[in-house]
Symmetry: C2
Subunit: 222 residues, 2 copies
């Protein structure tokens, strides 16, 4: 279960007008959901995902994941919790430039203590599934935009987290690649019960989502 209880997030920079990125957002997600958060550019989708994943703390309200209030956890426990339970696909990918595609995908499993053979097999398997089986030894700057995006997807899925927070995972993909990715995610949702929460503008993703949540100016539109 993931819940946000009346969450408000305000960005207050020096010399610029404060931005209310989320305004009293209350949502709950059940185990095994396959849901899309949609809304205009700037409406708060990335901020919502960041708050759900404990990457950002709200100014008001709280976020509860599996009974744990993320705002009350010690830093070290929050890091451990994210490592064990949450897979994140970033809008800008955030790949490690000095690692190859395979090393990027293995990295989280390494931190989780997964054994070496198992890590390598899973990484190569997932990279094959996203169509990059022949590019595993390339670094990010040797890959196209959409290829980098697929490495970011493989990395989040390889650690088999309980919750996947996917920020625009298909933005740079052609339809064939996007549909293949969605097939893979649906399979993992069914086979492992992984909960998928997408932030997206992509009609192809929205079409597959079992539930669609609309954000506008930081608020949920019912």
């Amino acid at each position: 279960l993931i819940e946000t209880e009346s969450v408000t997030k305000i960005y207050d920079g020096r010399g610029v007008v404060p931005v209310r990125a989320l305004n009293k957002v209350s949502l709950c997600f059940e185990p095994g959901e396959f849901s899309a958060i949609v809304g205009p550019s700037g409406s708060g989708k990335t901020t919502l995902l960041n708050v759900l994943g404990g990457l950002d703390m709200p100014e008001e309200g709280r976020v509860v994941v599996d009974g744990q209030d993320l705002g009350r956890m010690k830093d070290a426990d929050l890091v451990e919790f994210r490592l064990r339970h949450i897979g994140f696909i970033f809008q800008a990918y955030n790949l490690i430039p000095v690692f190859t595609a395979r090393e990027n995908v293995e990295f989280i499993m390494l931190l989780q203590g997964v054994d070496k053979e198992e890590r390598r097999e899973r990484a190569v398997q997932l990279l094959k599934e996203v169509g990059l089986g022949d590019r595993v030894d390339n670094r990010p700057n040797q890959l196209s935009g959409g290829q980098q995006q697929r490495v970011a997807v493989a990395r989040a899925l390889a650690s088999r987290p309980r919750f996947v927070l996917a920020d625009e995972p298909t933005a740079n993909l052609d339809s064939v690649s996007a549909e293949a990715l969605l097939d893979l995610m649906e399979q993992m949702n069914e086979k492992y019960g992984m909960t998928f929460i997408f932030s997206t503008h992509d009609a192809r993703v929205i079409k597959r989502a079992r539930r669609v949540i609309t954000l506008q100016d930081g608020q949920v539109k019912q």
Copy 2:
């Protein structure tokens, strides 16, 4: 006139299999075109745009822009030529992190020697047109993904180049923002005769293109 004559681009990294990103590509674009290059992720779209804009040199063949063979120009002349004539919207935006949105948009005009008042007016005007009129003093890390993308678009258009090479300019935009951007580009195409060459997966862009060129595995599919 922009032409590629039997252009081949090969990436030859250490320890990895060479990749033929473009294979004998011959294309020509007339002044005032509004054309889209489409194709699967990894098919060579970004590479083609980089070669058209003189950001990357082919291993075989040549690129001729307005009668100038880009491969035979001295570095300093090529830099000047790009500054004067080519506007580039990068797939990963490449905004300057320490500059505000307005400063990012003004930067190219500054290099071109446009006067201070004129630069500021054009920058603010263009940022308004892409829906960021109230965010001109924010830096990129204070903006959403789609907002950063729109700053990158405004920057390329503000200098009113003769050719705009736009690499997936709508990937992170909702439909309202994407359509508004396409309206703006169509207006500049008609009003100033600017040539637009898009690399895209986006059906909304393809729908508006007057010509569509398909790439697959680095080759043009006729």
